[in-house]
Amino acid sequence: MRAIIQVAFKKTVLDPQGRAITQALQSHGHEEILGVRQGKFFEIDLAPGTSRETARSNLERLAAEVLSNPVIEDYEVTVLEPS
């Protein structure tokens, strides 16, 4: 089983890297792009047999306490079905 955790700046926090990327893409001719926010992507492998509920609750906690900084970032946890 795998899980994906995405972390990005809160909407209220200025993301200067995202802004620089936006400007680069716009100057590349893509005026349809209004904004880019850059974030982090964690792909997490879980031991076989881990319960979905346990995985989700543990990962929510880890995302909140370790993988993101709640002062500046939001996160999203997605537990993927075993393929």
Partner: protein, 229 residues
């Protein structure tokens, strides 16, 4: 006075701190490895600048889980003096000993130059020897020094007189309300982006940074006198 300078893998201002504190200020200094939980009998802990644990995840985020930080947390809780400079400031924010966070500079560039900072208060063990109407010339050297906190937190820091330093004149990194350094709730923890340890020797252009350490030395001496009485 005895300072403990913490060394993480990736710290690179630890020797500057040792040089300034022992060489320029004549104080006793011990180096504390990040895996040690024993701070010894230090009067103050110095968290130096650098790139602890490669700045992986976020600046200061991995250092927060190191054994030494557990002890630093307890030391601070018991009223011990803790100063974090640059990466040390980032670590103190990540540990929650200080409010706010430090993100990439507004201009995206790493900035390495001397700036003017104004002490926001002289009511702290780190700034008692400073005058709030006299800027200090202290170098900054950081890529992620833009101080961020929400309005309610910033209002509280101001109301409680916990802004230790503000940039004077130009705001180099986009920090909210020009904040260059903040104090913790108990006023015994300071985080600041400018490097006072790099401004303790007239040979390097400024010795204004020594005001911070002279303040700490005075605070430690006062505490010792109180203890002895």
């Amino acid at each position: 006075m005895k300072f403990g300078v913490v060394i993480f893998p990736g710290s690179n201002c630890d020797h500057d701190a040792v040089y300034a504190l022992s060489g320029n200020l004549g104080q006793s200094v011990t180096e504390i490895w990040h895996e040690s939980e024993d701070l010894g009998d230090v009067d103050a802990v110095f968290l130096p600048g650098g790139f602890s644990y490669g700045d992986y995840l976020r600046c200061g985020a991995i250092a927060r889980f190191s054994p030494v930080i557990r002890s630093v947390r307890n030391f601070a809780r018991m009223g011990g003096l803790v100063i974090g400079v640059c990466n040390g400031f980032q670590i103190l924010c990540e540990t929650g000993l200080l409010e706010g966070a430090l993100i990439r500079n507004r201009g995206l560039r790493f900035i390495c130059r001397t700036v003017d900072v104004v002490p926001g208060t002289s009511n702290s063990p780190f700034t008692s020897n400073c005058r709030t109407d006299r800027p200090l010339r202290i170098p900054i050297a950081h890529g992620e020094g833009c101080y961020i906190a929400d309005d309610a937190t910033l209002d509280r820091l101001e109301a409680e007189d916990r802004i230790a330093f503000r940039y004077h004149g130009e705001n180099p990194n986009g920090s909210r309300r020009e904040i260059a350094g903040v104090l913790g709730v108990g006023r015994n923890v300071l985080g600041m982006m400018p490097h006072p340890e790099r401004a303790c020797d007239p040979a390097v252009g400024s010795s204004d940074g020594s005001a911070v350490f002279h303040s700490m030395i005075a605070a430690a001496e006062a505490a010792r006198a109180l203890h002895a009485a």
